[in-house]
Each structure stands twice: as C-alpha cells, then as structure tokens.
C-alpha cells in the first residue's frame, strides 16, 4: 500500500524532468518535490531500488517484490548514484505516463 496516490502526473510536470536530471539529489523546488513524492512513494511491491554490486563503483537497478520475496533485477547497470536516480526516474515516468524518456 501507499498513501501517495493523490497527485496525478500531467503534462505540467514535464518541465521538471530536466531539472531533476541535472540535480537528482539536493534542494528541490516544491513542485518537483511533489512529483518526486508521487514517484518515490510507490508501494513496496514493484518499487525500484539500486543494488550495490561493487561498492561506490557499480549498482544494478532492481524491483522489490514484497516482504521476503527475491528481488527482480533489471538489466541496467550504472556507475554513479546520479545515473541510477535518472534510470529509476525514467522507469517510473514510463510506468505513470506511458512515455519513454531518453
């Protein structure tokens, strides 16, 4: 379950994509935070995470499947946290809007 279902992502949120891509971690404007809260406030089942493969060097994108259940790994490897944030953002954006971001 999740409580973060109220905000419906719309075209007006598109302007935050590049803002997030440039600075995925840090102080964000309130509207971008609202968008991120919606994307990050997913239920545990299907939630995207980064799994550390080589500490501080390489991460793998995966999905939680629920309490006690094995992770579902995606064939996406990243070499920085910022890159990982962007890959997860793209997956979530697609999940919510159907749009594929490059």
């Amino acid at each position: 379950m999740t409580n973060m279902t109220r905000h419906q992502i719309s075209k007006s949120d598109r302007k935050w994509i590049e803002v997030f891509k440039k600075k995925p971690i840090g102080i964000h404007p309130p509207e971008l935070m609202r968008l991120l809260n919606r994307l990050r406030g997913e239920a545990i089942e299907g939630k995207f995470v980064l799994v550390i493969d080589r500490p501080y060097e390489e991460w793998v994108v995966a999905e939680l499947q629920g309490r006690g259940k094995p992770l579902k790994y995606h064939n996406i490897r990243v070499s920085s946290r910022e890159e990982g944030e962007w890959e997860i953002f793209k997956l979530r954006w697609h999940r919510h809007t159907g749009e594929v971001l490059e």
């Binding site: 102080i27 964000h28 990050r40 995470v49 980064l50 550390i52 501080y56 991460w59």
Partner: protein, 776 residues
C-alpha cells in the same frame, strides 16, 4: 547472497575472558583472524579501510558448516508422566489471533510432528479452532469449527476428549459479538483414533518438530496472544471451563487440573508458572512479548504491575528470535597484548567475508584518560533493519533512491535472522525486542545503509569508525567500553576517565546507563557528545537473559510503530518506556544541552557561528577557526557536518540556562522536517528551507565539580573529521575540545543571576546572557 554469517556470545570482554564465536559458512572451509577495527569506511573518498591483524591463536583454517536459525517464539513444558498418560481431558486457552488465515498455527499441543502423535488445539486452514489427535502410526483425525476468527479479537478456545467413546467437542466463542459475523460455534464429533502418548514437550504457540539439544525446533508457529492455558482431567462442561478460566474452581474441580499456566506471575522472567498442585512449570523460547494486555484488561490500569491479573497474556510471533543457539566454532581468551579497542573476528572464504565485532574493555586500574562509548544498545536497536525492503515511505525520507547492500538483500529473504526495533513482525506489529545473540549483519565494517546520507552512506558501526580513525590519526590513546558495561557497572566504569566521547548515534539508553552518564558529568566528568539524536529512547535490559533489550515506543516521538494501549511498560522491567524527555528531569537536553529536533537523509549542511561562540568561556573551542568561517561544509556523510539527525538547544526541554549555543546549521533540504514530538498541530513549512527548528546546534556548558559538556548535535559531524587528511575545522574544533577536556584543570565558574528564559531562536541569534557563566 551471503554465505558466511556469525555472532559472538559476548559484546564486551576484558583480559582473561573467553569469547566464543559461532559461524555459519556454506563454503567447505574458511580462514579466521582477530583484527582491530580502526576504520570501516571503504569509500575511496574517505580515509581508507584500516584494520590491524592481531597475532592470536584464532588465526587458522576451519571447516565450514551450515548453521541455521529456527525463529519463532513459543512456551514449553517438559514432558511428564501426567501429560503422557492423559485419558479423558479438556484443553482450553484464550486466543487473540493476528493472522488466523495464514495456515495451521498451533495453540496448545503435545504433538510430535515426525510421527503425528498426541493432540493439538490449533487454528487450522479455515482460520478457526480445530483439535487434532494422532495415534503415532499414521492415523490423524481432526475436529474443526471451520469458521475463521476475526483478527485482533479475543476468543475462548477449547476442546475436550472423551477416552470412553472417542468423542471430541471443540469450542470457539468470540468475546465481542458482531451480529452479521458467523464466528462462534461448538462442534462435537467422534474421532477414529486416540491421541498417542509421546515424550515431546507440551508446547504453546508452536508444536514440536524436533529437539536440538536445549533448543526445541518448532512448527506451525502462531501469531497472536495466548492467555490462561489449562489442561484438566475429564470432559468439562462449559460452565466448568469458565470456572477454570476465572480461577474460581471448587475443590473437586481444582483437584482435576493437570496444569493451569498463569503467564502474569513471572512477566519479567523466562519461565511460566503452573498454578496447579502439579507445578508443571515451563519456559518461554525466543523471547515472546510479555506484560501485554490480557483478555480481561479493563483499561483502568496502564502499568501491568498495578493490575497483574489483567496482563496474563503472552504475545507470540513466528519471527521472534532471541538466541540463534549455534554451536561454537572457535574461541579466544583475551591476552594481555590486546589493548582496549574495537575488534572483530574476521572470517573469510574466497571473496566472501564476515566480521563479528566485539570490544575489549580495559582492565580496571589500567584505564587511559579518554574513552569512546561503544553504543551496543543502539546497535541492537537497529540490528538487521529492513528500511530498504519493508516500509514503503523510506524513499520519501531519504529523498534519493534506496540502495541495498548485500546484507539487505540477504535479510529480506532470511527473515529468520530477525529484525530491528524499527521493523514490524510478519503480522504487522512493531518489534519490541532485539537480541545480539544472532548475526547482526549491519553492525559490521564496510556495510552501507539506506539512511546513511549521500557519500559514504554509513550508519552507526561503520560510521562510528570515523571517530576511532580520527582518534588514531590525532595520536590519542583511548579505551572503549560498551553500553552493557555502563548498564551493569554504572558510573564506576566512567569515573577513571577525564573525558568520554559518544558515538554518532547513541540513541537508546537504559535507566542505569542514563543515570551513570548523568552522574559522571555531574561529578566532574567531561562528555563530548559526537552525534545526533542521542539519549532519546528508554529501553530495558532483560534481568536474567543476557544480550537482549526491549522498548515500548510509548505515546510520542519519531517512531516506526506505536504500541497498543496499555502496553507502554516493558515486560522485562515494567519501566515506562518511550522518550526520555517525557520522564521527569531527564532527556537529551538535560544531559547534552540539545535534543532531537529534525532529521533528513539526503544531503548534509554546515554550521555558522553564533554570538555565543565569541564568549570567552569557549575561546579554547574556536582557536584557529575564523569569525565568518563556515564549519563543516564538507564531509563523508551527506557532504557536510550537519546532517541525518540534528539536535537543538531548548530550555523548555531542559537545556541548562547557562549553556552556550555556539553555532547552528542552516540551509537544509525540505526533507529535513521538524520532529513529530515538537508538533502539536501539523503546519505547512516544517521543512529545512523554512523552519527555524530544522538545525543542529553546537553547544557547550559547564557541569558541577569541574565537568563540562560539548555537543556536536549532528550524526554527520564525525563524517567530516577525516576530510583533507584530518586537517579541517571540524577536526580542529573537536581536537580543541578534547585537549581541553583531557586537561583536569577545572573550568572557572563565576556565579551570576539566572538569565531570563529564552526560546531557541533567541538563543541562537542573540546568545546567552553575557553575565551568566564563567569568569572573564
């Protein structure tokens, strides 16, 4: 997935003590060594991983073997002739199931799983009460109510067996009636077999799968409460059952009781008491929760000692774990050559490795002047946390992607390793009890954590080695003692030291620990509070079972769960648990001058000097630090010295009136929010970009008899110490304080009128009343 895990029987040892290590290794063999842990951070931007291999008899190659944890709590009574030779009998118990539909859950059973012999009162697949009989030769018969019970409701459950005609009657009666819900019934049926005698224990909340030495392996674990179980000779009427339940049986009936267990009689113990003349006492296993409300709780009393008879329930969980009970793989007798410090048994096989940390405390009489307080209680509180895999809002707190290290992935699938005091049981209830007699996979060097902040992303054990590596780099000779040493030995273990340093997050304190540290700093001791959100929760240590603590997160505070009404007092000691600041003249502000104010887990910030930092009383602290210099705008934990969890001065909560608010952090992200205990109504603008209370305050004050306190008030402070090869203003300030605190020269005190009450904003902006405090 991890293939090596382990734990030790002790967390603190001294010269001559023997410590045992238990190892689970899926490889054919492994190498073991003893190492002294100096820095556990492997971040390439950090000071570098640092350990010293100790020459010890442990070094060598060992055979690997798989050792497993059999989680799940239960109560048991050893088998006896009385229990083995039952003819006609009745078994009854009050039941409060939390997961009635999860499958078979045994309630009261003398049932041997391998040969299906005996009897079992249980919840069956229907979610209702059933009675099982087995002849041990392959025949099993069941009488089932077949109606699911409602979760979190009390039921009377019973079954009688008539040996003359093999007739079984099963009862299921809810205490609360919901008119349309069909959950009450009595079913009578003849069975085809008689329950065969067996030698397995009588078990409550599980049934016996196999004995394993002193550890009984169970099966069909139950989630929920049981109250007033009893076994009585003969087939009882419903009225007679009620007399047994109410402990008002006439003598003729009372004489037929084989066992009637009153769980309220030994709440603080690991025993259960049979009140019948047979005295078939038993014990609990894997530490279920006691001191919980029973079926007859009226709500008039909140403290179980005041209404013991209303607290006759025990709450069991299928994932409770106390002692893993593994066999010992190697031992170490502490030699004279091992100075006080943080050590670990390092176990490696190929690329797999495991560290099992422990502390060598100094031999009395050989103490140094500086001591690091190893926060073993707080490590236990966070032991095997599941922040990244269980609670959905975790990423809202971190405001960045959840990162899972290897141990997180392992713990998600290996729930038998138990949980932290932040997690929830499989039935959704909060974890009240945490033990160190199991592998604690996040109390390790090298491991990263979900909450640790951008950068090294460390929390607790590994983060605290930023302090020990700094002490070594600065050339300080120091001892290490643990929370358990303080809890069991009191102020005497602190008194030899001129100064003690806390860890980055000494959050959990027992009363004995709180009193010991408080008395120390009021008897001339000096405290450097190196962290954030310390001295926050009150916990109880069990009084007879080693290595286990309990908390009830009562009625306030930033908490992962809330206890049920009437369950605010720990079962271990009947102490009112929860926040220290709610308990009289106690709490972090009283102890350290600052208390938990806000938290956030993305990026950290810096401190800016306040007017109080120019008071001559603290000139020694800022030697070499510029007037307008930002303090700690760098670091391995979130990139700044002010981050994760932050504390502020607040007279209302006990900050001494003469304390100086030296510097305050600012410019935190909006994921740093004011703590809930400071909020009466929710308001917009509680984040770091707007709210005054989202900050950490450097704080100093003198204590009686020449003592003093300096507080960093941030969990990220220690992460800035190693920056620029330890040459930075966080390191300088900490060194200035430590050098002065080591010096036994008293702080000069000049009496002055009490300053007027001020709020924390005024304190920060205008400073303390200049006349209050020390001589100029």
């Amino acid at each position: 997935m991890l293939k090596i895990t382990g734990y030790s029987d002790q967390i603190s040892v001294v010269l001559g003590d023997k410590i045992s290590f238990m190892v689970n290794c899926e490889h054919p063999s492994y190498e073991a060594d003893i190492v002294r842990v100096i820095c556990g951070d492997v971040n390439p931007d950090g000071p570098g991983f640092n350990e010293d291999v100790i020459d010890s008899p442990v070094s060598g190659t060992y055979n690997g073997r798989k050792q497993e944890i059999y989680a799940g709590s239960f109560a048991m009574v050893e088998s006896s002739a009385l229990l083995e030779n039952l003819e006609s009998f009745t078994v009854q118990v009050m039941v409060w199931p939390t997961t009635p539909r999860k499958g078979v859950q045994s309630l009261v059973a003398k049932w041997s799983v391998p040969d299906n012999s005996g009897f079992a009162l249980e919840i069956d697949e229907s979610g209702g009460i059933a009675f099982l009989v087995g002849d041990g030769k392959g025949k099993v018969d069941t009488v089932s109510i077949g109606k699911p019970m409602v979760e979190y409701e009390w039921y009377f459950a019973a079954a009688s067996y008539n040996a003359d005609n093999k007739e079984v009657t099963v009862y299921q009666e809810p205490m609360v009636e919901y008119p349309p819900i069909d959950d009450a019934s009595t079913v009578t049926k003849k069975v085809s077999v008689a329950p065969a005698a067996n030698a397995v224990p009588l078990m409550m909340a599980a049934r016996c799968k196999a004995p394993k030495g002193d550890v009984v392996i169970g099966d069909a674990y139950y989630n929920g409460k049981l109250d007033s179980p009893a076994i009585v000779e003969g087939v009882l009427s419903r009225a007679e059952m009620e007399m047994i339940l109410n402990r008002k049986a006439p003598t003729t009936l009372e004489n037929r009781i084989i066992g009637a267990w009153d769980f309220s009689l030994d709440i603080t113990e690991t025993t259960i008491t049979d009140t019948s003349s047979h005295r078939l006492h038993g014990k609990i296993c894997h530490m279920p929760t006691r001191g919980v409300t029973g079926y007859n709780w009226t709500g008039e009393e909140l403290r179980w000692k005041h209404a013991r008879e209303e607290y006759g329930a025990i709450r069991f969980h299928e994932d409770d774990v106390y002692d893993a009970g593994w066999d010992v793989d190697f031992e170490l007798t502490i030699p004279d050559s091992m100075k006080s410090g943080i050590y670990a048994a390092r176990v490696t096989s190929g690329e797999d490795e495991e560290y099992i940390p422990f502390v060598v405390r100094p031999k009395p009489g050989r103490e140094k002047k500086v001591c690091f307080l190893f926060p073993s209680a707080s490590y236990m509180a966070y032991a095997n946390e599941h922040f990244g895999t269980d609670p959905w809002p975790a990423e809202l707190m971190t405001h960045r992607a959840i990162e899972l290290d290897k141990h997180h992935v392992f713990l998600n699938e290996h729930r038998e390793y138990g949980h932290s005091l932040y997690d929830r049981h499989s039935d959704g209830s909060g974890i009240h009890i945490s033990s160190r007699l199991r592998p604690i996979l996040n109390m390790r060097p090298k491991v990263q954590t979900v909450l640790g902040g951008e950068g090294s992303q460390l929390w607790q054990f590994a983060a605290d080695t930023h302090i020990t590596v700094w002490l070594e780099a600065m050339g300080y000779d120091y001892d290490v003692i643990t929370d358990e040493d303080i809890h069991y030995r009191g102020t005497d273990v602190l008194k030899p030291y001129n100064v003690v340093l806390t860890s980055s997050h000494n959050e959990y304190y027992s009363k004995a620990m709180y009193d010991a540290v408080f008395d120390y700093i009021h008897q001339g001791g000096r405290l450097i509070y190196m962290g954030g959100n310390g001295f926050y929760w009150r916990v109880s240590y069990h009084q007879t079972a080693p290595g286990v603590i309990e908390i009830r997160r009562a009625e306030g505070g930033s908490r992962a769960w809330a206890p049920k009404s009437g369950e605010y007092y720990t079962g271990f000691t009947c102490e009112y648990s929860g926040l220290w600041r709610r308990q009289g003249r106690t709490g972090p502000n009283v102890m350290a001058g600052v208390g938990f104010s806000s938290e956030g887990f993305d990026i950290s910030s810096y401190y800016r000097r306040n007017p109080d930092s120019f008071n001559s009383r603290v000139a020694f602290i800022f030697e070499g630090v510029g007037k307008d210099e930002l303090i700690g705008d760098f670091g391995l934990i979130g990139g700044g010295a002010a981050g994760l969890e932050l504390d502020r001065v607040e007279r209302e909560f006990g900050t001494p009136p003469h304390a100086l608010c030296l510097a305050s952090s600012e410019n935190h992200t909006d994921t740093f929010l004011v703590v809930v205990e400071d909020i009466l109504f929710n308001l917009p603008g509680s984040g770091g970009q707007e709210n005054e209370w989202v900050r950490g305050d450097l704080c100093f004050f003198e204590t009686p008899n020449g003592g003093a306190v300096f507080s960093a008030s941030s969990m990220a402070w220690a992460g800035s110490l190693p920056h620029n090869d330890f040459q930075n203003n966080v390191s300088r300030i900490t060194k200035n304080v430590l050098d002065r605190f080591v010096d036994p020269k008293p702080f000069p005190i000049k009496k002055a009128p009490a300053p007027p009450m001020k709020d924390s904003y005024t304190w920060r902006v205008k400073g303390s009343t200049p006349t209050a405090g020390a001589a100029e």
